[in-house]
Symmetry: C2
Subunit: 494 residues, 2 copies
């Protein structure tokens, strides 16, 4: 049952109730993940005195845990070097189709127009992208290749909607091992080094709990806990909320996105919705709080040539799409009850190291036996496999349009990997409504003076549908814009 | 594209900026639908001076447009007279299963415990429920019968979860004609007559636009427009927000529930989210803003014995469930792209008057021909009908568990009624978070002093899943409690 107090908006504190300030800056940034770091860099470069407040002992947040794909396109140097012609228009068309329902047109537009510039900015921060393309289906390349498909751009229906191009750009790691530090960690190394070299101050082990407001409603700073003591931190120009989404707050999840309740938190304890609740306490608008990225608990190499079936033994999506997309389909539309049905030939085609330990729970000579072992309704899976095989034998999939290269009739011996009960790795996508400059929209549709936000504390590029890389992508992109806007805000009048 | 200003929270006005009050009351109620009227009755009976503010020229709102089913149970006089044994426990078990994901346990609990008392209260307000049961599948009985199944209680999976009982109680109408005034209108006649007889004052043609707050945040009244002029209405004890949901606000729908964007608004222009936005402007918590009741655009008599297929020619639900439930499945999980497949025998079994004009777009001798006419993938519908018929011939439906009485193999000639593009009648279910006493939860999880809410402006009994009658049910039930709580609140100190 929802505990209202853990999910509720957080009340601001009147500046009259702040006896003294323990520290001051032009711009106070809450959270030191990719959005906070990017805001810090830009704000500092715009001449502002910057203080980044982070609840953990070091920065990084969920960004540093990420695979590291950054969604960039429109013709980056890496795309060109790898032989892909991409345009801002194709990128825009894809994102408008893939990030809905309810895509954020204004954000998608500026994000695509300025994506090549943003790529260059990341390079200027020291991020290295190797000019090589990894073409096999994957969550993230096991290599140090710099470019990969991350959103099903080359699969149905998007390959019918926009000219496909891979847009997942991955910071290069010299020694990359599965499960160890990866591209997201590397990205954060460069961003935090750049921010700190530029002169941003970082205050770790400090947990923000309140916004401070002036009598006219303008945000003037934050209240935080630091080693048990309360500190007040004054922001002369603005506060940037960038402490992530709310997947680690079970009460918020129950209240807004109950279909992902109980799934695996992809993030840190800090993804507890604090930024969103701080904004709501000032009357900030929120959007798409039901949305969440949900990673299919399997490996794309196994999923693409197999068939995904629901609890009725039916297929429900083209298996060769981005596995975050099939994961969303499974969790939001199939009650997270589905299985992967494959055959020995498919299983054997995937090197053991790339199977991540997944293997069939059942192996049977016939589909009828497999159906019975899986507890599926009589004839349901047989009917599905018959139909799939009939079409696949002609290289066709008129139902879901899987590409011919992944179509082959399943043949004995058959196997199944049940995904019921396996954890889908989830982070939330809904959050504060912001302008393209990171201003938080408040009462009357006007920006709340002195308040900015970026990253997964906001509803950004992925309104609902997702592509890997859009979070590090919009976190860095709109984090920069929020930092710049905050730095140029009218300073508080004494 | 979303216009932030139409969807954003609404800023309160400081009491210092209110030069004079045009009217005063202990309790000011915003909206004169079933929740507002019920709040008015209880507040007045508790001794409070009550002013109901309504933007239309007369009360009624969406409540008066409703079929009139009120979800009541646990052993009402009507249930007993019709031979149904119901208990608060069975009602609770059903509602906890049917109104999720994320059911509101606290509200469901008190709602079930006190449902028989609430039934009696409605009777005391003059509402007449005829002690007769209408047993055919329907949206609302074409007769004046007083009891009907409205939530799929007797269909899978709920018939496996809780002892089924019909709980849709319908105010009797002497002369009822399809499409004319119905039970909801009759309910509102009795509630408004009771409220006004008790001494509640009603101010029509008055549109509330702001809450007025004291320096400590307590709500002290409202600002409204009345024939072009602004009026300030003082609430000495409390304001009750009861102006409905937000289906008529396209920008809010785009921001929170884009899957129902463009569907038919089941309600009035007043269902524009004003109450929700007023609460948000004070930092009120919201929940389940993505949820919506979505009525299948067909008639249950035709749907139950037919099969519902999606754009892949697959079935996706037991067709004999509540058609609001299959409507939600279609809109939220099947992209609102589905069709009803039936045969001549089914069609002929429904009297013409009960078909509401629905008739097959295509009639074919074979399923293969029908599949082609419908533009479904080759062999998809044939596969589905083969499987359905094979099981139906034995009176079974192992996939979706439709009851045997609605199972019969489809036979030539076959027909199909495409539902793509037909309007689903929708109202939103998400809204303000309130306690069981109608207090609006604000910053810190604490009630906002002086602010109450009820009806579809709140997230109530139907958190996400729906049963017909739960809106008039929780609107009247929690409207009463909000009115009583507001009436007994500490009056504002001068």
């Amino acid at each position: 049952m929802t505990d209202a107090s853990n999910a509720a908006p957080l009340a601001p504190r009147a500046i009259a109730d702040v006896p003294s300030w323990e520290a001051e800056a032009d711009v106070v940034i809450v959270g030191y993940g990719c959005a906070g770091a990017s805001a810090a860099i830009e704000a500092r470069q715009a001449g502002a005195d910057v203080l980044v407040v982070e609840r953990a002992t070091a920065g990084g947040g969920a960004s540093a845990m990420a695979g590291g794909e950054i969604y960039l396109g429109g013709g980056t140097a890496v795309q060109k070097a790898c032989g892909f012609d991409d345009t801002p228009e194709a990128m825009y068309t894809y994102l408008m189709a893939a990030t809905g329902p309810g895509p954020n047109q204004a954000k998608v537009e500026v994000y695509c127009e300025r994506s090549v510039e943003h790529f260059q900015w990341l390079v200027d921060c020291g991020v290295v992208f190797k000019e090589s393309f990894y073409e096999r289906p994957c969550w993230e390349p096991p290599t140090d290749d710099g470019l990969v498909y991350t959103g099903g751009e080359n699969a149905w229906p998007f390959n019918q909607i926009a000219q496909p191009a891979p847009r997942g750009h991955i910071p290069q790691m010299e020694k990359k091992r599965p499960g160890e530090k990866s591209g997201g960690w590397m990205l954060m190394q460069h961003l935090s080094a750049t921010a700190e070299a530029a002169g941003a101050r970082v205050m770790p082990d400090t947990r923000v709990s309140q916004l401070v407001v002036e009598p006219d409603g303008r945000v003037a700073g934050v209240i935080a806990r630091q080693f048990g003591a309360e500190v007040a931190l004054r922001a002369r120009r603005g506060v940037v909320l960038a402490s992530g989404g709310f997947m680690a707050n079970a009460d918020m999840v129950a209240q807004h996105a109950p279909l992902v309740a109980g799934q695996m938190v992809l993030g840190t304890d800090g993804d507890d919705g604090t930024s969103i609740r701080l904004g709501q306490g000032l009357g900030a608008a929120v959007a798409h709080l039901d949305a969440a990225q949900t990673a299919m608990p399997s490996v794309p190499l196994l999923v693409y040539p197999s068939i995904l079936v629901n609890q009725y033994g039916q297929r429900f999506i083209n298996e060769d799409t981005y596995c975050g997309r099939s994961g969303q389909a499974a969790v939001f539309h199939q009650q997270a009850r589905c299985s992967l049905v494959l055959d020995e030939k498919i299983f054997e085609s995937v090197p053991e190291a790339d199977r991540w330990g997944y293997r069939p729970t059942w192996v049977c000579e016939t589909v009828a036996e497999l159906e019975a072992e899986m507890g599926l309704p009589l004839r349901s899976l047989q009917s599905t496999v018959d139909l799939y095989n009939e079409h696949a034998s002609r290289g066709e999939d008129p139902l879901f349009h899987k590409r011919a290269e992944f179509l082959r009739p399943l043949q004995s011996p058959f196997g199944a990997i049940p995904l019921n009960g396996l954890p889908y790795a989830v982070f939330t996508l809904g959050g504060l409504v912001t302008t393209v400059d990171g201003e938080v929209i408040g009462p009357g549709g006007e920006p709340i003076a002195g308040l900015y936000a970026a990253g997964r504390a906001t509803s950004g590029i992925p309104s609902w549908g997702y592509a890997s890389g859009t979070s590090l992508g919009d976190g860095t992109f709109f984090g920069r814009r929020a930092g710049r806007a905050a730095a140029s805000a009218r300073p508080r009048v004494e």
